[in-house]
Amino acid sequence: MRVRPRLPSRSAGWARLVPRPRSGPFSARWWRSPLRGLRLTSPLGLVLLPGIVLLLGTGLLSYAAYNPDLSPANDMTPDKGWLGFYLFSWPTDPDWLYRLTQGVHVTLGITLIPVLLAKLWSVIPKLFALPPARSLSHAMERVSLLLLVGGGLFVFGTGVLNVQLAYVFPGSFYTLHFYGAWVFTAAFVVHVALRLPRAVRAVRARRTVRAGSAGAEESERERAEEADARLRPPHPVEPTLSRRGALGMVGGGSLLLLATTVGQNFDGLRRTALFAPHGGSDPGAGPNGFQINKTAAHVGVTPERTGPEWRLALHGRGRELRLSRAMLLELPQHSVALPIACVEGWSTSDQWWRGVRLLDLAALVGHRRQPPDLFVVSVQPSGSFRAAALRDNQVRDPRSLLALYVNGEPLSLDHGYPARIIVPAAPGVLNTKWVGRMTFGALS
């Protein structure tokens, strides 16, 4: 005979709907580090704010430096729409401009990683906070925070992988990093607008306390104290590291990353860049021994394509010329000292380039005055940026060359023999190597 289970009493049934004491990470008791609190989070946030603004700014500049609105060949994100609202003609002065902006972008990004990780660590209990939303506004805020965290890690992650040439992401780096950065920016602006006042208050109150608080600031101090309590665990374990010590460790991590990366931007310091992908040592010795973005072998440029049979096809106002390297060497030669700077954040100090001015080549095919934009195509059979467009201001700069020599020697195959473009302040990928065709007045 089966015993009929006793029906739960009415009150027990209701009890199930009453929120139980939360457990695991959903309970405030789970989080016990005495370091957590607004006093740790605020200084980290106040470092990240200018840092990330600088990263976003230099990132937007890097996109502008490609002159993406000039030609589809230069634009890796052609469906950008309004996101290209700010684009402008990239200047050729100062010649270290892209070296500076992109060096800052990559090196600063790497330096900020410990600060970002520490910031995320300091607020992790908030991820598990219940109820999920107190109001629609609060729900939207939490969605925005997920976009902030996901977007931040996504943008930093793709950047760090890309500079290491670990092209493992699902799509073009440019697409992911550019649109990912905009998704992040949308959430970042909201986060700053909502949290900056609180962070400033916390840091200011701390200073007031240290200076010996005056009565007038007492309420401010109390408010900061109250906000701090929101991130502080209710039952902290005994501290084994001071807040200042923790901040020092984060700063130490940033300094270590900076010290082992920044050398990738200076030939004299390159040996100190122990982990930067273009740091440590140079690929060779002698005049052609400086850093190479992509070797000839990797992109399929063989000596056959660049040997005695090689000719430069020069197109202009209805004219077409085919020039051998010997013929190019008979044209007026000019020397110029210019750096090479790559989107991946490394650069070299000035190299001495020697070759024919783009202005003179334009004149040969009928553009004697005010030459137009220029389309350059490489003999390179594979890889991105086999072709690139240069804007008229770049063509008209007398320092812009079709280089044949570097540092007193003919270009090596890896540096673009028989001839390469070098334009002041242009990103490395626009300085086309192994040039096969140049068309003045065309953009594709």
């Binding site: 997920l146 905009w182 590291l241 270590l256 992908p277 070797t295």
Partner: protein, 168 residues
């Protein structure tokens, strides 16, 4: 209606709070931000949307549910391993600091250090073998430096202990 005026007002406020929480400014800001998110997001997902989403969400999940618990657990294990005593804090931090710095380098540069970048040498003309050695070397220097500092701290402390009775 006469009787419940106050209550109705309270109820209305309750409903408004449920929707807006902090007044209309905040949801307006958030909605504007979501417009931009949508505009960029559509373009971000235009290609392989499933994998891009997986990367976007995965980045947060791996960090929040794997990486962060991992280093929290490592620290808990360390705290359990170091016995209570006067020098506990010093010992803990002399392990923590070099471990954090070394772990940070590994986290940022793991594709190069663990030689995951197959084409690195072909692309740059540089050797990919150097990174593991450099990381081990930096790690060794960090731990050696930290160990030296710990030994110094312990010895000065012991000397103070020896000196203390005579000073009394």
């Amino acid at each position: 209606m006469r009787r419940h005026d106050g209550r109705r007002g309270g109820w209305r406020n309750g409903r408004r709070d449920r929707w807006f929480g902090h007044g209309p400014l905040r949801p307006t800001l958030l909605l504007t931000s979501f417009v931009l998110t949508g505009y960029a997001g559509v373009r971000l997902l235009a290609g392989d949307w499933l994998w891009v989403t997986a990367w976007f969400v995965g980045a947060a999940l791996v960090h929040d549910l794997v990486l962060l618990p991992l280093y929290a657990l490592a620290d808990r294990a360390l705290r359990a391993a170091v016995p209570a005593g006067r020098h506990r804090r010093t010992v803990l931090n002399c392990v923590r600091v070099p471990a954090v710095l070394s772990g940070l380098l590994l986290l940022v540069w793991f594709p190069l250090i663990t030689r995951q970048v197959a084409a690195y040498e072909a692309i740059t003309g540089l050797s990919a073998e150097v990174y593991l050695g450099r990381w081990l070397l930096v790690t060794a220097v960090l731990f050696a430096g930290s160990g030296g500092w710990l030994a110094y701290r312990l010895s000065t402390d012991r000397r103070r202990e020896v000196d203390a009775p005579s000073a009394e």
